[in-house]
Symmetry: C2
Subunit: 344 residues, 2 copies
């Protein structure tokens, strides 16, 4: 066996697979943000040559996959399985986006945690010997997400300060199994292990405060990772959540402290990193399947690749809801998946 | 390694995991159909004690999981990972349904092919040694699906003869890794291998004729399975599609014949098996994530368990669309995942 089952929710891979390439495609507002210069591709009108926001989101997914493959000089036909998802109903951004690649597909839904879910399954499949290359991709688009979850943009509805700004972006990650072809030469980042999250529901119902809805799930997965792996915050250079934002971050700090850990010095939130809250009017921060994905691809992985960070716990978080569940008065539970990324 | 990578899309497990138990929960119309007496639980008003169709669907998923666990005398806390999905936007039937079980969750979306996707990932994870027990569950509900995809039921819109009737039902499957605990004593059904499908798009746009939209994907996965495994229809006792219905079946036969195979003697479609077309006014047949799942759990698995069928190719099919993609004029591509089930 090439992996070890750890604790109750985690796996540690003995022959850990590598992230051999990653690519980020983002929109105009993201291009103007703090990470703007790091993205592989950006677009001025957020339509990427398409007629609709949904098509634009599909185009971003396809371009991110093609860029990630191109960077590693790997053909789509050499990728065994693709793991992808987005926020739209019935995952159409993924279905329409990756269709042209003709890679056998596992469609996923984990709200904004989907980049973690996709990386976990890609890593698990590569580590198990189910193929040499796996591709993980997720996306979100401000326009398609507003249409899906909120109001027509033309209404110009006022947003509470706890609301997030959905990131227009897609990140793709090419995962390669450790093996004879010696991927160490291509990459210094490996997926060392995963901690798969449970649904965590504190009963919150405010879909305009997703940071508060997701923070308990982030805490649960981080603390479970520590327990399963026999670690603490001291064993990580960074603990990186997906899109808790300013509201969710402070709740996370409190909840984690209640469990006996203090992650304040190690924490980074992709939703806070991607926009400048002071000048970009993004309130609690960025969110969406694309937020954590493009931040990981453009900002986090290069630091691990260079060895600046030796071990990172990447924990994208998702708020599990739909307009139907919201209108029917259901709470908004959260889920978070942890991916242990190591420099090697 | 405990598996062999076959051809371009398939895996064959050397230590094939077992389906140690399965459970089916279904609605009132399904209870009156040809398989009605085989379901573990049915309900007269299709609400299962809930206030809304979405809650009812969640309740079915939970009950199906609890029943499957109970049959095998396994506790939820002993299940390593749960793979689940449904047809609703943002997968809320699954999120709300399995929350109480507190099993680490991979949320999936593959339209009506999701039962295949879930069984594939559960089998892959068990075969890889990622845990002893995995749970796979999917559901659909006539009421929630009509609301999600079509018109308010009160409109009493007329349905074309090519339309399907969404099955109200949920099927859950407990998968156990082959190992020291000797699951052979508990089960005579194993997941021998999988063939993961690609998106197949013949450009059809009629969401009221999903059989035609999905038949090309079913053909593609079946023929790919034959090629990858070095087999033909002669090597299977049954080739079982999810919900092609009467229209899709005839198209599938033609497409498969074009590839040099004749599966007419071996084919069974869950959507045709679950309702009596003559008396139940279900037009092309049943459909939905729950259709293939409850038919597999109640009708197919017992026949494999008894050895009546030695090897079955289970191929649930999905139509990848949403009301948004439909309204924007996109085509309805299909996807199908193949699961090789063997008596042992």
């Amino acid at each position: 066996m090439n992996q070890i089952v750890k604790g109750s929710q985690s796996l540690e891979f003995q022959n850990a697979p590598y992230i051999v390439s990653a690519a980020s495609v983002a929109g105009s507002k993201e291009a103007e943000g703090p990470l703007g210069k790091l993205f592989d591709m950006t677009n001025e009108d957020d339509l990427f040559g398409a007629q609709t926001w949904e098509e634009a989101e599909s185009t971003m997914q396809k371009e991110a996959c093609v860029l990630a493959l191109g960077k590693a000089h790997v053909e789509a036909e050499d990728v065994r399985y693709l793991f992808g998802g987005d926020l739209l109903r019935q995952g159409i951004a993924t279905s329409m986006g990756v269709e042209a690649l003709q890679i056998p597909l596992f469609g996923l839904y984990g709200a904004c945690s989907t980049s973690g879910e996709a990386l976990a399954l890609a890593g698990m499949s590569a580590a198990a010997g189910y193929g040499e290359y796996m591709l993980a991709v997720t996306s979100s688009h401000f326009g398609s997400a507003e249409k899906e979850f909120r109001f027509p943009l033309g209404y110009a509805s006022q947003r509470p300060l706890s609301a997030h700004w959905t990131v227009t972006g897609s990140g793709a990650f090419l995962v390669q199994a450790a093996g004879e072809s010696d991927p160490e030469k291509k990459s210094h980042v490996r997926i060392a292990g995963v901690t798969i999250g449970k649904i965590v529901d504190y009963g919150l119902k405010d879909s305009q405060n997703m940071g508060a809805c997701m923070a308990p799930a982030a805490m649960d997965t981080i603390v479970q990772n520590f327990a399963d792996m026999g670690r603490s915050e001291m064993d990580y250079d960074r603990i990186i959540t997906g899109d808790l934002g300013y509201v969710g971050q402070s709740i996370l700090f409190d909840l984690v402290r209640g469990k006996g850990y203090d992650i304040r010095e190690k924490h980074l939130d992709c939703g806070m990193a991607i926009f400048d809250q002071q000048t970009q009017d993004t309130h609690a921060g960025g969110s969406g399947c694309g937020c954590a994905a493009v931040t990981l691809a453009s900002f986090v992985l290069p630091k691990i690749e260079k060895g600046e960070w030796k071990r990172v716990l990447f924990v994208p978080t998702g708020a599990l809801m739909s307009t139907v569940s919201y209108n029917e008065g259901a709470s908004v539970p959260g889920i978070a998946h942890g991916i242990v990324l190591e420099h090697c």
